[in-house]
Symmetry: D4
Subunit: 174 residues, 8 copies
């Protein structure tokens, strides 16, 4: 296994699962854990140190509000740590709280932050990081991006054919 995906609560799983799924598509093994920077801090530290020793390459950490998980992980490893700020409708602040708490790290301890709720991009970024040193994975990323481009082009062709009014109806968008 290469990528450890952590989140503070199983309520984050419906968003964070996107990271595991895209990694699977890109041929990168991963494992998913619920471990909290605030409620089980020792388990987090232990997990990170054990995983780095075992040859893991990247950590992905998702958290909301005063999102400290990615920073706590980054404090205990020399590996790259990707942070996913999660938005909590109940806590207000439009997701800016988690974004700031993840990205504005002090000098010396970076967190590679993706967009709010951007778990899929976290997975792709992890694959790109591994791909920087692994030609197979990099080729998987290239293929993934080519597939995305083709999908958009195909949609545009369909749009030109149908016109936007029929396209919207057809797609059930109006």
């Amino acid at each position: 296994m290469f990528v450890g995906i952590l989140m503070g609560s199983d309520s984050d799983l419906p968003v964070m699962k996107d990271a595991a799924e895209v990694l699977e598509q890109l041929g990168v093994a991963s494992e998913v854990h619920t471990l909290s920077a605030h409620r089980t801090p020792e388990s987090v530290v232990e997990y990170v140190q054990k995983s780095e020793a075992a040859g893991y390459k990247v950590f992905i950490c998702g958290a909301g509000g005063a999102a400290h998980l990615a920073g706590v992980v980054a404090a205990h490893t020399a590996l790259p740590v990707i942070g996913v700020p999660l938005m909590s409708a109940k806590m207000g602040a439009a997701g800016l709280d988690a974004l700031f708490a993840t990205v504005q790290m002090p000098p010396g301890i970076p967190v590679a932050t993706v967009g709010i709720n951007g778990a899929k991009n976290a997975g792709i970024l992890a694959a790109q990081i591994i791909g920087a040193g692994d030609e197979t994975i990099r080729k998987n990323v290239i293929a993934y991006k080519e597939k995305m481009a083709k999908d958009i082009v195909a949609k545009d062709e369909k749009l030109q054919e149908m016109g936007f009014k029929k396209y919207l109806e057809d797609a059930g968008l109006i």
Copy 2:
């Protein structure tokens, strides 16, 4: 000693010293440490556990940006933890980053947050917390607040006497 004052860098000291100074005025002993949640995480944990065992009552933690120090301390103690969000002109975001990263804690691990750069209020709050169980300290807080009220009243009297134009001149405010 009763109150541990922590900050991540000695560059925070010019703001955070206000906490130590007001505690001194209120008759509460304190000690000041630079310890970083991200750069010396083990030292933070060790300090907190040792201090709680030694009978400390409150921790005050000042940090800027993705301010995790108060949260990390709160994760390792059952004592009340006061967080002071510090503004960093260089990092943008008008201090909201540190405010969010300090106050928006997940259920179970509260941080008692004061205003941006509010180190003096952190000291007073620590004294109020100790004063909830210690009559002498509570009386010191009462006296402190009465002194503040008197100062304002005195200024208002001077203002009525002088008129606002002369008052401004006299105080060098214009």
Copy 3:
């Protein structure tokens, strides 16, 4: 009774009840009142002064918008005051209005602010404050935190056993 829980309107009760409930779990007595800083200011002052004289230890105040309740209470007591900023969907501003109006207090009159809608954390913080001077309550807080940690660990074990896809199905999260 030890903790007074105040809010400006009974529409705040569905959020603020969390404070009373967690205090009950932590063995701390509390009482709940609707009293408004703006509509019944004299009642607030009277209540606070009477309660401090009667030996109360902490006040918890929840309010939304231009949330003044915690500040008004803090102006009339030397006890620690915890502020809970409440978000109002109807008034816009994503809860930042109440957060700012609660936390950005002037020097001399701190409010111990928790996160937006963070009533449960307000209750735990009140218990921590009382626990700073009362070993039984502090032990209750420690036990509460250990229980939280165990719950997360148990969830993680179940997650490892099931894998995240089955876990999500099983929990009805997808």
Copy 4:
């Protein structure tokens, strides 16, 4: 006297003096006081009740941070209360804290809020309020606005005559 101008600290006077000065120009008597919602709450209440009884027409209240002064005054009077949110560079938040804490009042207790640091506009608004029931003052407001319009027209004429390059040089703006 008709308008009471309050502020929490004499450090607010360099901004708040603009209200008194423009009222003077508009023929409205006013008086200036430093009285704090948090440090001298009883004095504020006493002042407001005494002034309303004495026939005052409007209150202007300037405060920064968790700006409660206007709201506290509004809680104790049926007269219109104008709030001036003051920006504090030291407390961060770009003045939004004071704006929110002044304007987002709960139903029943409005504060007539002007812009951040808008003390001059507070004075003019107070004159407009008095002018709604007093023809002389309303005419003074009309004359004041006509004077403003003339000043701009004169500047534009000078600008057309000089061209913008010479105008900037002449005014020392570059």
Copy 5:
């Protein structure tokens, strides 16, 4: 009639009607118009000038987004103008756009701004402004505020009697 209530679109009426209703309760006559600063600017100017000449005392203007209506009205009258910033879910920005566009007026042209969607408070403020020069209306405002206070006290008594759990059930709040 004394108060003119303007809004840019009839879609604003469900919020803005609160101003007319509370004015009715307070004994102040008002009329409601849809007139747009951007789509029917001449009608706005004409209406304002005619109404000021006819002895109107206050204008209330509700608008969302780049809310210019209150400012445009204020540009054409010496009477006090109350602005109600309206939140538009579709346009994003959490209502801050309308708040800023209403409150941050340049020196010389104040708008008395109330909270986001605060139409009821706009009505009460208009009554307070008229009440500053009209004893009957001021007494109506005092009675209104006393009624509000009594309602809260009654709710608190019911809450003490029932306890918060039963109260919540009884009110259908859980």
Copy 6:
């Protein structure tokens, strides 16, 4: 054809279609494409260069989040480019992300930005731009604006006739 309407994904079409529809009403031909600045960058460049050579007059680009599409188009053409910031509920930030990423362009490469989700206004602005050099289109814009004004006046007349209570009922707004 004169106006090219681009968006990064067909999920933007339900908002962006407003631009095409209003252009149709204003007598301006347009075409709609899904092309992504990030997923199909070469297609974007190719399309823009081909369209400018073919005599297109304006581009309209809608995008959400880190909305780069308008900027990328502007980098490859000397024609005016209109940007429509789109709000994404899932990505948080209340639409400010797309607004900033569209409007805050560096010196030399402007994007004519309209409001969040303001696709209809983008269409009208495109017609105004074409109308600056084409009398027929300018007259269509004038007619469109006169129609809007008449609609509001008609609504206001209905409102005066019915009164606001009946109007609300009649329109099903309450």
Copy 7:
């Protein structure tokens, strides 16, 4: 003359002059006026109507705070109106007030908004709009953009030659 540049106060001239200067470089005639939406509304309307009749093609309007000037101009013309949000350090809000008040226009009355203080881009955008119907001006814009590109390439060549340390010294940047 083709472009009318308006601003509410001569204090905006040091920023707004950039629009006039870049238009001059691009071969587009312009004129600069100080006219205020709030203080001289009739003059604004008169100027806009006269200028549209005289064949002007575009208006550029700069304003700060509750920036209504561009919207007021747009309400009275069918020509494209470019809005420049100006930041005022004294009024707080980091320029967001003017940005929102300029860009968030209601359906029907667009303002082509450029970045905060983006007067130079407003000038370029005006030239692009005129260039959409005038080949000479469009070629001037193309030449201007090529010149910009060359300048950057030249700087990059110098940077490669010198290395970044020497480059910084040489440019006096450290």
Copy 8:
């Protein structure tokens, strides 16, 4: 060479040089270029494709305002791209514009974003990414972090020895 550092203007160099300097300390070769996403888009694409083919591992891109550089680079490579949002005092928005424009990327094209002005952290993150596949560089990162920790511990020891008052004096911080 392994890391390409790009920025849109040489005025970004005083901040961005920190990335190059820390990479040098960590034993990673890098090169610095000024290339603009908006002014020299073809050069950016060409550079990225050439560098990926030549075996570069990571790109670091710094930009302010509507910061598109990192996104444009990410659109043309399968390598990890690090974005540094730069704050521009002149353009307002407190650096949030660049942060949003860098981090809120659409699904499929992640940018690894660091804090506002966080060029040093960008360099360390690049080294961590390379270190994930290169033991020597990972050890350099570990050594760098140990050095940071020692520096803080040393400062804390000095602080304990001196006391905070003498420490502040000694460091010239008061």
